[in-house]
């Protein structure tokens, strides 16, 4: 698509902003850390654990500036944007430590600023500011829409809804769609009902049994304060990709609303939070895709590659810093690594490496540094070996969240269990060839993997002080993401 006038204006706006930021950054070095991840990937927990670890003194042996004692102090300061809610850090910590629950799913954007006082290796005192943004992961799915027209999006959404386990879930919407005529007169009631059925279908795909990821537009799932507005009342129609909409038709109405959605929702979101990142961590929850089945894994791969295409990645130069900031380090992190024995972490990393191969190659060619890591921001389990007959199963011990089901038994959130989630194959290609069964196609006894959801760990308060949160490789992630800025 040739760049429209609107795109050019947008670019100019972004460049002006970048120039302004560069001037500020001169006196007050800032790292904009993009915490990217689909919903339930663990963004909120990651941010909470990162802040908690830095401000309360966590165990970070691999994070060099911290381990060697050069970081004097990390503190929270008021954020730069007055219009964005503050990240409810204290509340999330309380939920995690005292109630032993995971923070509930994020419904709106929030922001926090962390300032690190440190001493450089040559002895000079410096500060580094880290801006972190938390947002519902669903919204991220909107970014690829920026480069698609309504017709393209319609065609893709329809094609997708006719594949695999989605067909069954989309049946009511498909039935209603068949009654609509795209060229017919515009009709608010028809638009309302088709949008509702479409949203129901998207919501159904998200169920744990299917764990689909590629479900744009994201605001349909997490509308925030936009619920019920015309910008959120549209749906794909069965129209030709290269056709033009007749005036006054249903098609034209939908198209107008789709464009409005991009203008009102997607573009500002991208401009304010993603166009100016320096470092990025992409959190991926591969385990729920293993639970659900091969289709969920393909979906995850497609969603990730679509999203990562939207970011500006490459080596930072003076010119790029001035006008078009680029992300020069990306860390792909397979979250919830504590749900596996550490001997399987390498295999989990291999799966993630395979899933993001395209995006990672592109980033490397552009000159960005990339790394893949299996991490757990808050470690909920311990490890154990289970000896059953002659078998020795590398397992984990933990308390499953209430409502989790295994062996046909529902847990109450108090019983401790040892679980062996199933062997990951040495070669990740086997998973991507569809060689395993998940909950979407088999009953829970037949599935090849079962990753239970665990409650946060029980932590002991030491002499009235807040305990530190245990983690897996959070320090390595930090070292990669900001270690070089704290030299």
């Amino acid at each position: 698509m040739a760049p429209s006038f609107q795109d050019i204006v947008e670019e100019a706006r972004l460049s002006a902003r970048a120039l302004l930021d560069y001037g500020e950054g001169f006196f007050n070095p800032t790292v904009r850390l993009g915490v990217t991840g689909l919903s339930r990937a663990g963004k909120t927990v990651f941010i909470t654990a990162l802040i908690h670890g830095l401000t309360r003194g966590g165990r970070f042996p691999v994070f060099e500036p911290y381990a060697s004692g050069r970081i004097a102090k990390a503190r929270l300061t008021p954020q730069p944007d007055d219009a964005v809610p503050r990240f409810a850090y204290e509340e999330h910590v309380r939920t995690l430590i005292e109630q032993r629950r995971w923070p509930s799913s994020t419904v709106d954007i929030s922001e926090l600023r962390l300032v690190i006082d440190y001493q450089r290796q040559n002895g000079a005192d410096r500060t580094l500011t880290i801006d972190i943004v938390d947002y519902p992961g669903e919204w991220l799915l909107d970014l690829p829409l920026l480069s698609k027209s309504y017709e393209q999006w319609s065609a893709e959404s329809l094609a997708l809804s006719r594949e695999g386990p989605r067909v069954k879930l989309a049946a009511p919407w498909h039935a209603h769609l068949a009654t609509l005529s795209a060229e017919g007169r515009e009709d608010e009631q028809a638009a309302l009902s088709t949008a509702k059925l479409f949203t129901d279908y998207l919501r159904a795909c998200r169920d744990d049994r299917f764990a689909m990821s590629l479900l744009p537009p994201g605001r349909f799932l997490m509308p925030g304060n936009m619920a019920g507005t015309p910008a959120l009342t549209f749906a794909p129609l069965d129209v030709a990709t290269d056709g033009t909409a007749p005036d006054g038709s249903l098609w034209a109405m939908m198209k107008r609303r789709y464009e409005a959605y991009k203008d009102v929702v997607v573009r500002p979101f991208f401009r304010d939070h993603f166009s100016r990142l320096d470092r990025q961590i992409v959190l991926v929850d591969a385990l729920s895709a293993f639970n659900a089945g091969p289709e969920a894994l393909y979906d995850l791969e497609a969603a990730l590659s679509g999203i990562l295409d939207c970011f500006r990645i490459g080596r930072s130069t003076l010119l790029s810093n001035l006008f078009r900031p680029r992300i020069d380090r990306i860390l792909f992190a397979a979250t919830k690594a504590d749900h596996l024995h550490h001997s399987s972490h390498d295999r989990l990393e291999a799966v993630l490496r395979r899933a993001v191969a395209k995006a990672a190659d592109r980033a490397e060619v552009a000159g960005a540094a990339i790394d893949v890591v299996a991490l757990s921001a808050v470690r909920a389990t311990r490890e154990a070996t289970v000896t059953r007959g002659r078998d020795k199963l590398p397992s984990i011990l933990g308390t499953p969240a209430p409502g989790e089901i295994a062996n046909g038994e529902t847990f109450d959130g108090e019983t401790e269990v040892a679980t062996f989630p199933g062997d990951l194959p040495a070669d990740p290609a086997e998973l991507f060839n569809g060689g395993f069964r998940g909950l979407s196609s088999a009953s829970s006894e037949k599935a090849d993997f079962r990753f239970l959801r665990f409650r946060p760990p029980l932590l002991e308060h030491e002499s009235g002080k807040e305990p530190t949160l245990p983690h897996i490789r959070l320090d390595r992630a930090l070292q990669f993401l900001i270690g070089d800025r704290l030299q």
Binding site: V62, N122, R382, D391, L393, T415, F420, A426, R476
Partner: protein
């Protein structure tokens, strides 16, 4: 999935189930048939390798000392040059043939000086390469970066090229170059292949130096001879270690190495003292009961061994990860055993 490890199905066991027993790994008890046994493992939060102390403290600020020595050196060189030019002019004024002899000698001296300086510079550069390699390897062990691990292995092989004993190890390593091995594992592989023979040789060098020192101290008539001998033997040992691991230190290189070794000893000495103090006092005490000189000999030998260990840390191009770091206890054992053999 290969035949060796068929996919194992997921399984969940409740800890309060009567058929499940939780026990530590050191407990051994007979279990009834069909009982599932769960052994909690130690906390793997210590899993990631802790960072080693940097071998060489990071330089801070401008190096005024270096500037001073460079400037003074330049002045001395200029002065000497001026003196020689004057001398040759005088010689020509007195007798032409004498002048030519003087000129020839001056040129020979200049040539030799150039070669010596070049060799020193080369030696220093090589030491710096090894130190940098060590740092890079330590970094890769943390970051697990595949690309840079490849680069390090290539540099290592280049460094090891001069050592004919490593021909087979180099070939084996080159064979793995195309395999898919993670960064940290690649470094460990290289360490196992290339460093095993060198480490054995290094250990032999250190223990033989320590042994010599202890014997000489035990029999020497004067303390001054002890001190001189210990100094010479230590220098020789450090030089041999550097040569073994691929460095070729000249005089300046030795000065630099010596500084790093002593600096490293100062950092690690405290730790080493705590874990081997008892054993050392025991050895010293018993030996001293037999004879005071013998006791001093053992003590001096142990000190030399400790210096040797620090020198190994500094001269080795890779940090110790896959292979065990030689401990003072091993060397002390060598020292006493050989003594027994001879005694």
């Amino acid at each position: 999935m290969n035949e060796k490890t068929p996919h194992r199905r997921p399984a969940t066991f409740k800890l309060d189930d009567p058929g499940v027993v939780v026990m530590d790994s050191d407990e051994t008890g007979h279990l009834a048939r069909g009982t599932v046994r769960i052994t909690p493992e130690s906390d793997p939060s210590l899993l990631p390798v802790p960072i080693d102390m940097p071998l060489v403290p990071v330089r801070r600020g401008f190096r005024w000392g270096t500037l001073f020595w460079v400037a003074v050196g330049g002045l001395v060189l200029l002065g000497t040059g001026l003196g020689i030019v004057n001398l040759i002019e005088d010689l020509f004024a007195r007798n032409e043939s004498l002048g030519f002899v003087g000129l020839g000698l001056a040129m020979a001296a200049t040539l030799a000086l150039t070669v010596v300086i070049a060799r020193e510079a080369f030696g220093l550069a090589r030491l710096a390469t090894i130190e940098k390699l060590h740092l890079r390897a330590a970094e890769v062990l943390l970051s697990d970066d595949r690309e840079s691990s490849r680069a390090i292995v290539v540099d290592l092989v280049k460094l090891a090229h001069q050592n004919p004993q490593l021909a087979r190890a180099r070939a084996a390593l080159a064979g793995h170059a195309d395999d898919i091995i993670d960064g940290a594992d690649m470094i460990k592989l290289a360490e196992r292949e290339l460093m095993t023979p060198l480490d054995q040789e290094a250990r032999r060098l250190v223990s033989s130096a320590a042994q010599r020192v202890s014997i000489v101290t035990a029999v020497s008539p004067r303390a001054l001879i002890d001190v001189l001998f210990v100094f010479v033997a230590s220098l020789r040992m450090i030089r041999q270690l550097a040569l073994l691991y691929g460095g070729r230190p000249g005089t300046l290189g030795m000065v630099r190495l010596m500084r790093h070794v002593i600096g490293h000893l100062a950092i690690t000495g405290g730790m080493a003292a705590s874990d081997s103090l008892i054993q050392q006092m025991l050895g010293h005490g018993i030996a001293a009961k037999l004879s005071q000189r013998l006791g001093e000999g053992v003590l001096n030998g142990l000190l030399t061994a400790r210096l040797g260990l620090a020198a190994i840390d500094v001269t080795r191009p890779l940090p110790f990860t896959a292979l065990p770091r030689p401990a003072l206890a091993d060397l002390a054992k060598d020292l006493l055993r050989k003594k027994d053999d001879e005694g």
